[in-house]
Every structure is written in C-alpha cells, then in structure tokens.
C-alpha cells in the first residue's frame, strides 16, 4: 500500500468520526402534552374547539388519541379512568389526517396538534362531565423467543366540562376536615391539651367536600398565630370535583409536603399556636372558618433534663449513703 492510499483511508476514517452520531437506545418513550388541563363551562347546544400539542422526544412510535371519562377517587387527587368513551358530550378531531382511536406514525422530534371539537347536544342536563384526552403509544410485539413485558405509555390531560343553561352554579361545599396529629395529649379535667415537640414537623390536613353538581375551586388561607407572630399560607386554588372530597394544598417552602397533607409547619416557636383556615368556595359564597390549637414544648429536652436530674439525685444520694457508711 502506498502513502497516498494510506492517507486517503486515514482521511476517510477521520471524516467518518466527524459525522453526527445519534446514540442508539432501546425503544424510549418521551411524550409531552400541552395544555395539561382544560376547563370549559358550556351551554347545551354549543361547541368549542381546543387545540392540544403532543411532542415526541423519544423514538418513533405509533400513537393514538383517545377520550375517556374519569371519576375522582379517594381524596388525594387520584382518578379512575373508564375503558370506553361514554356520556352525553360529543368529541371529534378537526384534523384531516388523524382521528380519535386510530393509530398514526409519530416520528422522533415531531410535534402534532390535535384539534378537538367538543359539542354539547341540546337538552343535556346541567352538571359536570369529566374526561381525559389521552395520547397512547401502541405496543409493538416482537418476542424473539423471550418472555417479555411490553409497555404502553399514555399521557393524559384532564378535560373538565361544566354544562349549565343559565350560567349559574349552585355551590354546596364544606370543610370536611381540618386536623393534625399531636405528639402527646394531656387531659386536665374537661380540658384536652394537644402537645407538639418543638423539634418535630407538624403536618396539617385540610379537606374540602363538594356535594354540589359543579366543581369548585376553594380559595383562602391558613394562618398560624403564636403570640404576636403570624404566618400566613395561601391555599392553592385546585379543583374539587362534584360529589368528591379532596385534601387541598397550601403554598409553602416545604419541599416534601406529603401527598396526604395540606401543609407542613416546621421550626415551631414555643407556646400556644392557633391555626385557622378561612376558605371561600366561589365568589359571593360565605367564608367558612375552622380553628385548631396546640401547645409547643421542648418535650425531648425536658425528658433529657428530668433523666439527668434523676441520675444526679441518685448519684448524690448514693454518695451521701456511702459517706454515712464510712462514718
């Protein structure tokens, strides 16, 4: 091989290294869906159009759009999705190239818009109807002699539809629970004193029950008053769906508020605390208030001090007894 040929081969090798290289992965799914939620208040006989955008940041896949009703379950914002589309609301896609339920090829880095028409037939009774728009990957089987779990990924966006002829919705809601779990409970006569150790965090639970036909969005605050100090936490305006109960959340700087808690109070000052929540369920509705109170004490520190004191007394007593023995 002469020098010229060798140089050409080396040049080709180097050039091939400069070509853009995409890493190869197992079949990845990376779907985004926007908007994450849509709320619509509609009169019967009307229709609206909502545009959703779905993006594929993963590998090419077959995708399909589905609409499914859901119902809220539990009180932590969970939901149960039906297997088939039912209910009085009519859905169709305005797109010319895709239809609901029918799979289409969705390339990598592609964005598609699903233009959803929502129609309410005349005569549909007032009330709320809850659906999910789902973008679901179609599972691909290629077993190749291996026992396999094949995953299908769906990403959903809740679609909350309130149907009302008059535009007026009747609010029927209440604060179902406003509570905390004390570290210790002391009963003195008819009085119950709830005690919190000052080094502990205190989760507060505030739950709202909506007994009405329409969703509500509670707003208000939780105030923690300790002597002259007051801390206020605004309530996150989340939806409580009709005929359901939900633990509402409050804005705070606690990073890991448990899902089952509204708020976590920490670095509690010593003394009596009065924690009050004030909530309205809609404009013009009366404010509902609930209050809880507790006493914050350095319980563990006190226990340690008592133990030290007892040990000290025992030590001194023993010393005195030994001194008496010697005499």
């Amino acid at each position: 091989m002469n020098t010229k040929k060798l140089l050409i081969i080396v040049a080709i090798l180097i050039a091939s290294l400069q070509l853009p290289v995409s890493p190869v992965h197992a079949q990845q799914v990376n779907l985004s869906l926007d908007p994450p939620i849509v709320q619509a208040k509609m009169k019967p006989g009307r229709s609206i159009v909502v545009a959703y955008t779905v993006s594929n940041g993963g590998d090419p896949t077959n995708l399909r759009f589905l609409i499914r009703p859901f119902t809220p379950t539990g009180q932590l914002g969970s939901l149960s999705v039906s297997q088939k589309l039912e209910g009085p609301v009519l859905f169709s896609l305005e797109n010319t190239d895709i239809t609901i339920e029918k799979p289409f090829f969705f390339a990598s880095k592609e964005k598609r818009q699903a233009v959803l028409r929502i129609s309410i037939p005349p005569g549909v009774p007032d009330g709320d109807y809850y659906y999910l728009l789902l973008a679901e990957t179609v599972p691909a089987f290629s077993l190749a002699g291996q026992s396999t779990g094949v995953a299908s990924a769906s990403i959903g966006s809740p679609l909350l539809i309130s149907i009302t002829e008059s535009g007026v919705t009747v609010i029927n809601a209440t604060i179902a629970e406003f509570s905390f779990k004390p570290d210790y409970v002391l009963t003195i006569g008819n009085n119950i004193v709830r005690i919190i150790d000052n080094i502990n965090k205190l989760p507060i639970v505030c739950s709202v029950r909506n007994m009405g036909k329409s969703l509500i969005q509670p707003q208000g605050s939780i105030r923690d008053v300790n002597g002259l100090t007051e801390n206020k936490y605004d309530i996150v305006p989340q939806n409580v769906l009709s005929n359901s109960q939900r633990v509402i959340k409050a804005f705070s700087d606690e990073n890991n508020t448990p899902i089952e808690s509204t708020l976590v109070l920490k670095n509690l000052s010593l003394g009596t605390h009065q924690v009050t929540t004030e909530i309205i369920f809609a404009e013009g509705t009366p404010k509902q208030t609930k209050t809880i109170s507790f006493l914050v004490l350095p319980v563990r520190l006190m226990i340690i001090l008592v133990i030290v004191l007892i040990l000290l007394i025992l030590f001194l007593a023993q010393k005195k007894w030994m001194k008496n023995e010697e005499m």
């Binding site: 990376n30 908007p35 914002g77 679901e136 995953a151």
Partner: protein
C-alpha cells in the same frame, strides 16, 4: 516525514478526537408551547401570592365580566393551571418499552427494569398508574404465569400492598418500585435491590389501574408574572423544587418446573396525567 511518523500523528489525532467527544450536550428545556389562557374565568378570583418569595401575583377576572361573556358566547374556556406559570411542559418518559425476562428457568427468578420520569413543571400535582392487560400468557393464550402473591402467609401481597417476595419456590409475575414518589409500601427498596413486590392490577378481572407514582408538591420553580406596564421581574428567592421525578419499576417472573414451555408476554399500560 516518513510514513511511520505520519501514522503516529494520525493515531494521536484520532485518540484525541475520541477523548473530546465525551463533551456533554445541553438539553434545550425551553418550550414556547406552554400557555395559560384564563383571561376570563367563571369563578374564584382574588390575588394569589406565592408565600415562598412573594413574586408570584396573579389576579383573575371574575364575576360580571365572565357572566356577560358566558351569556353572549355560551361558553368560557380556560387551559393550564391558574397557579402555575411554567415553561416546562408535562412530560412522561419510559427508558424502554420492552422488559425482556429472557428464557425463564424454574425456581430461578428473572427480572427486568424500566425507568419512569415525569417532568411536571406545568402541573402541580401528577400521578402515574399501571395495569396489565392480562397475566403473562403464551401467544395462543392457553398457558399463563399468574400474578404473584409474594412469599405468602404474612407476606401475601396484593395490588395495593407490597410484600417480600424472595423465595425461589414462590411463583408468579409482579413488580417492585424504587425511587421518588412511589407508594409507601415499597419503602425499603433501592434501585439496586428490590425485595418488595406487588402483582399488577389486571384488566381481565376489571381491576382499576393502581397509582405507582404520585406527587402533590406544587412547583415553586416559577416565573414571576410581570406587572403591566412592564417592570423588571424580581429575583426569585424561594426554594426551587425539582420538576423532574423518577423511579424504577422492576418486573419479576418466577416459574415452577411444571410451567408449560413457551414464549410468554403481556402489555403493561402506564398512564401519566396531571391531577385535576
């Protein structure tokens, strides 16, 4: 310059190129797709402030104006969450869509894992559910590997309660979870070691899908809404929360010596959705 020297130089060049390609790549996290449309809403209102840093003020128009609009148009629509203004769209990621359990050998459990990630910048609360279409079955559907009951006795698991499954003579198909936002009954599992398992919810027996990841932490990683006329946005002083959470689901199958030979498969359906 002779050929030998030339080749050495070229080899050094190639080697240096390989070293340099390990550079990291920035991921474009910006999205101009996210929007919030709630100029006119039908209920609620008032000024919402972010107690973290007081930079997030949002005032919704309510009452008379919304009522007029509803009467004239017959509808009011709003999209996005009223209390979050984020450029990060709600995103769901699966590291792979196939868990190969290989050739199953009696009394020798096989496992495979998928990483799940949820980016919920645009949603304060989210959940991921899972359900199997059926137990692991042969293509003809004649033979099945039933869902696990774990080790049995006190360690009998269910679709909502994880228990220890470590015995090589307890058979079935199930999953373990490790990572962020997973159900409390999986606490104790780590990414490397998974001992606590559940059977999948089964569509064939009409079981509801089960929540496997859930978070209720409203993001504080927000962009302040500038007042009108425009004033510079104040510096965020709050504690930014991570907006991408991840977990690993480990699927496990174990068969007895009398399990008929064949290739077994099933579909596991994962659904990620912002809460309402």
């Amino acid at each position: 310059m002779n050929i030998k020297k030339l080749l050495i130089i070229v080899l050094v060049l190639i080697a240096s190129h390989h070293l340099l390609v390990a550079l990291s790549h920035a991921i474009n996290m910006r999205s101009d797709q996210y929007r919030i449309q709630f100029g006119k809403v039908d209920s609620g209102g008032g000024k919402m402030t972010d107690s973290v840093d007081n930079t997030y003020n949002l005032t919704s128009s309510i009452g008379q104006e919304a009522a007029k609009e509803f009467q004239s148009n017959g509808y009011i629509v709003k999209s996005g969450f009223q209390y979050i203004y984020s450029r990060i769209p709600f995103t769901f990621y699966l590291s792979n869509t196939r868990v190969d359990l290989g050739t199953l050998t009696p009394n020798s459990p096989s496992t495979g894992a998928i990483t799940l990630k949820v980016s919920f910048g645009g949603a304060g609360q989210y959940l991921v559910t899972a359900r199997a279409d059926a137990p692991l079955s042969t293509v003809q559907g004649l033979d099945q590997i039933s869902f696990t009951l774990c080790d049995g006795g006190a360690d009998t698991c269910s679709i909502s309660t994880a228990k220890v499954w470590s015995s090589s003579t307890k058979y079935g198909f199930g999953y373990g979870m490790a990572g962020q936002d997973i159900p409390a009954d999986f606490t104790g599992n780590t990414y490397i070691s998974t001992t606590l398992f559940r059977p999948f919810a089964n569509l064939l027996t009409s079981e509801d899908a089960v929540t496997i990841m859930q978070s209720g932490n409203v993001t504080a990683d927000i962009t302040p809404t500038p007042a009108i006329p425009y004033t510079p946005a104040p510096t965020l002083a709050g504690v930014p929360r991570t907006t991408t959470h991840q977990s690993v689901i480990t699927m496990k199958a174990n068969i007895s010596g009398i399990q008929p030979p064949g290739t077994y498969a099933t579909v596991i359906r994962f659904l990620a959705t912002p809460s309402f």
